[in-house]
């Protein structure tokens, strides 16, 4: 009994009872989103018909058409599968691009004060631009279609990432090791790519996932409002046509026309969100199930407690953590404003938005 103590709570528990741990969230999320991606890629082979082909309008579900046909005669299941291609394709592309661009700009903004100020002004203006008239404007000038949508999401995707990456870079820039690297003569480029870039990865990944989710839902919303690309097969357009059908609210039509695309969007976005939450947990060990629990009597070995206190995994930027590199810059420890505090207290959380 000498090496053991029974403690109440606040004491780290070793292993059991995962709950919403890293593991099953990430696995479930990856599996679900992976399934959708596979379906999207395989659509041309597994779809029963060509989605642009016209059959009889309003066919009921049958073996030939498992979900039936829409109001002009497109096979709904084929539309659903091909819709995955478009919706996922455009979301993935735009979120990837906007994260890359945003991160690059954020790095530049965080590193050079002057450029930083200029870039942040542009960010402020972009964040203040009302989105709806801009999409109407773009749809009016350019042809409403995939390219316009992509451009639109790019335009609105990068500012948030830039802002978040920049505050991260600014927080890191003041740290000792950067100073040290500069002193030994490392070039700016090397500092940026070798040191700062990896530090922004924990921020960029949740932002990418968040943007991905946002674009999937936004594409469906824009199509619903009539600003999408009408001749394209996407989940949003399916919902748009369904919602305009005169009997959609008074018959059971919605079960086979509204539910499938709606649930697909929900499931895909949920999968991404689960990955995002588990990523957050990975980087912020306080959130792990294997961290602290309350109200539990645990038997621990003496001496093991201290080791448990160390955060495991990549260096987490969350505030309140003991900085392993031993920074002595005290003003970096005190938040300067609400946004800064928010960035520190949960940079990942702010990035998640």
């Amino acid at each position: 009994m000498s090496g053991e103590r029974t403690v109440r709570s606040g004491t780290p528990a070793p292993d059991e009872r995962r709950g919403p741990t890293l593991n099953w969230l990430a696995v479930a999320g990856l599996a679900l989103s992976g399934a959708f991606v596979v379906l999207a890629i395989a659509a041309p082979w597994i779809a029963p018909h060509d989605p642009t082909r016209l059959f009889e309008p309003m066919l009921s579900p049958s073996r030939l058409h498992p979900l039936g046909a829409d109001d002009v005669g497109h096979d709904l299941l084929s539309e659903l599968l091909y819709g995955a291609r478009f919706s996922l394709g455009i979301s993935l592309t735009s979120s990837l691009l906007s994260t890359l661009i945003g991160a690059a700009l954020g790095l530049a903004a965080g590193y050079h004060r002057r450029t930083g100020a200029l870039i942040m002004r542009v960010v402020d203006v972009f964040l203040a631009i009302p989105r709806f008239p801009l999409i109407v404007l773009m749809a009016a000038f350019l042809r409403p279609g995939p390219a316009t949508l992509l451009l639109f999401f790019l335009l609105f995707g990068w500012p948030r990432t830039t802002r978040v990456v920049r505050s991260q870079v600014m927080a890191e820039r003041g740290k000792g090791y950067i100073e040290a690297a500069r002193l030994i003569g490392a070039s700016d480029l090397r500092i940026l790519t070798r040191h700062l870039l990896p530090a922004t990865a924990p921020i960029a990944l949740p932002r990418f996932l968040s943007e991905f989710q946002h674009v999937i839902v936004a594409e469906s919303g824009l199509s619903f409002l009539g600003l999408g690309s009408p001749l394209v097969k996407s989940w949003g357009m399916m919902l748009a046509y369904a919602s305009r059908h005169p009997t959609i609210l008074i018959t059971d039509l919605w079960v086979r026309w509204v539910l499938p695309p709606g649930l697909c969007i929900t499931a895909m976005v949920l999968a991404l969100a689960m990955i995002g939450v588990s990523t957050e947990m990975w980087y912020n060990p306080k959130l792990r199930a294997s961290g602290r629990r309350i109200g539990e009597r645990r038997v621990v070995r003496a001496g093991s407690e201290v080791a448990r206190d160390r955060p495991v995994g990549p260096r987490a930027p969350a505030g309140g953590e003991y900085d392993l590199r031993g920074s002595v810059h005290s003003d970096a420890a005190r938040p300067r404003s609400a946004a800064h505090a928010a960035a520190r207290d949960g940079a990942l959380r702010a990035a998640r938005d």
């Binding site: 109001d71 002009v72 009539g226 009408p230 009997t247 609210l249």
Partner: protein, 520 residues
């Protein structure tokens, strides 16, 4: 700190409660002062509910020109003549006669009419109304035609004489059955009728008074006018709520009637077997058409346009897109239900092979064209397939309506899908390619001007038939289909909607003729 958070939360709840209270004080711009419930009838008040939206504050000048704003206003204001399901009937005027040259019209007015505020109605109000509307015609959108109005004079309290600069054919459409009569004592000092929103602005002679109007909610509540000169009303209160879906509201029992149009016939069919509803059908006097740009190749050639007419399967559009909610259009544009429609027009049968040959012969095979449209995605899909089968390379460009209208007005398009109403009125032939500009054609224009002043109905009809024959031959537009209209209404209601002959006033096709609320 804990206290601060709770304090802030309390503030938050207080703000929320304030918000709730704020919304409980409804703002009623115009209409009866808030707080007066509708006058209670002897038994339970009869309320009739129709769906609608915001169509403007219902005075003749502030009602929106888009949509049924006129109808909302017509419940409050009367005209000299009106129409029922058969034709023109006397309304504020009991008798009228026209001089031989067609330029002078004399009306005898009813003597028992009072304004909603109790003032007596006289011929001076009529003369004033015509003059006022004519003077302010540029400030308000007016589809009536007062271009030929010269002056009006009140000969005595019950007789008014209206002078026109030239005779007007079909005057009850655009003039006497359209111009609302407004009280001189209210409007004589108002310079900007567009912005006059006081409660007095809704003073009329009509069967209803306005009890409530909310612009943002898009709702109207009318109360029966107990002193209405035209007789007893079947309802005490007329309510227009704003519902997101008419069929659903009908099914939920929220409204007493709902109107449907075009492909909404699918919703109408859901009520066919329900004995608690009746269905009435009527024409919509609307046409969807393919507009060609005559300034751009290849559509500057008439043989190419004819090829397109053979290529497009118009019956398929009616069957697959509207699901039987429309009829294949009359190539002469004018509504086929009217006597003005020319029954002997050349037809361009759906013949893809012929279309391909014609196009190839014209040297237009493989031409790249852009089809613009706003909101006609399904039609665009089918038409594109038809045109590609005939040998054209078609790109479909969609947009919102304003953008497409803008492009049409500028003439910046190849071919477009667009539609409009008012085709019961032959004046629709003036500009067949509206909203795109119509290229000048002196013979056509001369014919049109002639018919506009032709007082002999048969002669006028001949002229109109000639115009249609020219249109069908030259094909400035390819008319596609005419959507139909239905009204589904409660079988047990005392009110029975009907469709007015040639549309209400200037040709409004909907069923909301105020006569349906009056005991006849």
């Amino acid at each position: 700190m804990r206290r601060s958070i709770i304090t802030y939360l309390k503030w938050f709840c207080a703000l929320g409660a304030a918000g709730v209270l704020m919304s409980c004080a409804p703002a009623a711009p115009g209409g009866a002062p808030p707080g007066d419930p509708p006058a209670a009838a002897a038994q339970d008040p009869v309320v009739y509910t129709c769906p609608g939206e915001d169509w403007g504050y219902p005075t003749p000048f502030t009602r929106y020109s888009r949509g049924p704003g006129y109808i909302r206003m017509s419940f409050l204001f009367d005209t000299l003549t009106w129409k029922d399901e058969h034709g023109v009937i006397p309304w504020l005027a009991t008798e009228w006669n026209m001089s031989d040259d067609g330029r002078t019209w004399t009306f005898t007015l009813r003597g028992d009419v009072r304004w909603h505020d109790g003032e007596p109605f006289t011929a001076h109000d009529v003369a004033f109304s015509y003059q006022y509307v004519h003077d302010h015609a540029d400030q308000i959108f007016w589809s009536g035609d007062l271009a030929r109005f010269e002056r009006a004079e009140a000969l005595d309290a019950q007789t008014v004489r209206i002078h026109l600069s030239e005779p007007v054919a079909g005057p009850h459409f655009n003039v006497f059955g359209s111009v609302p009569i407004i009280p001189q004592h209210v409007w004589e000092d108002i310079d900007d009728p567009n912005r006059y929103l006081a409660p007095e602005a809704t003073t009329g002679t009509g069967p209803f008074t306005l009890a409530h109007y909310s612009k943002e909610e898009g709702v109207y509540v009318y109360e029966a006018n107990p002193d209405f000169w035209g007789g007893r009303l079947k309802v005490d209160t007329l309510v227009f709520p704003n519902v997101p879906d008419v069929a659903a509201a009908l099914r939920a029992g929220v409204i007493d009637e709902g109107s449907f149009w075009g492909n909404e016939v699918q919703a109408v069919r859901e009520f066919e077997d329900d004995p608690s509803y009746r269905i009435a059908a009527g024409p919509s006097f609307w046409v969807l058409q393919l507009i060609f740009n005559p300034e751009r190749a290849p559509f500057d050639r008439v043989d190419v346009r004819r090829a397109v007419a053979h290529a497009v399967d118009r019956q398929a559009l009616v069957d697959q897109v509207t699901h039987g909610g429309a009829v294949v259009a009359n190539l002469g544009i004018v509504a086929p239900e009217t006597a003005w429609a020319n029954p002997e027009l050349p037809d361009y049968a759906h013949d893809p092979a012929l279309a391909r040959t014609l196009l190839a012969d014209a040297g237009a095979a493989g031409a790249e064209v852009t089809l613009i449209q706003a909101g006609y995605d399904r039609e665009a899909e089918l038409i594109r397939a038809d045109l590609e089968a005939a040998g054209l390379r078609v790109t479909v460009q969609s947009g919102d309506r304003t953008t497409v209208d803008g492009l049409l007005q500028e003439g910046n398009f190849d071919i477009a899908i667009s539609g409009h109403g008012g085709i019961a009125n032959p004046s629709t032939l003036e500009n067949p390619t509206w909203p795109a500009p119509t290229s000048a054609n002196p013979t056509y224009d001369a014919l049109f001007t002639a018919q506009a002043g032709e007082l002999d109905t048969d002669a006028r009809r001949d002229l109109i038939w000639q115009l249609q024959a020219m249109a069908a031959d030259d094909l400035p537009v390819l008319t596609l289909y005419h959507p139909l209209m239905w009204v589904v209404y409660r079988a047990d209601a005392a009110v029975v909607p009907f469709y007015t002959s040639e549309g209400i006033a200037g040709g409004i096709p909907i069923e909301l003729n105020k006569l349906m609320f009056i005991e006849r």
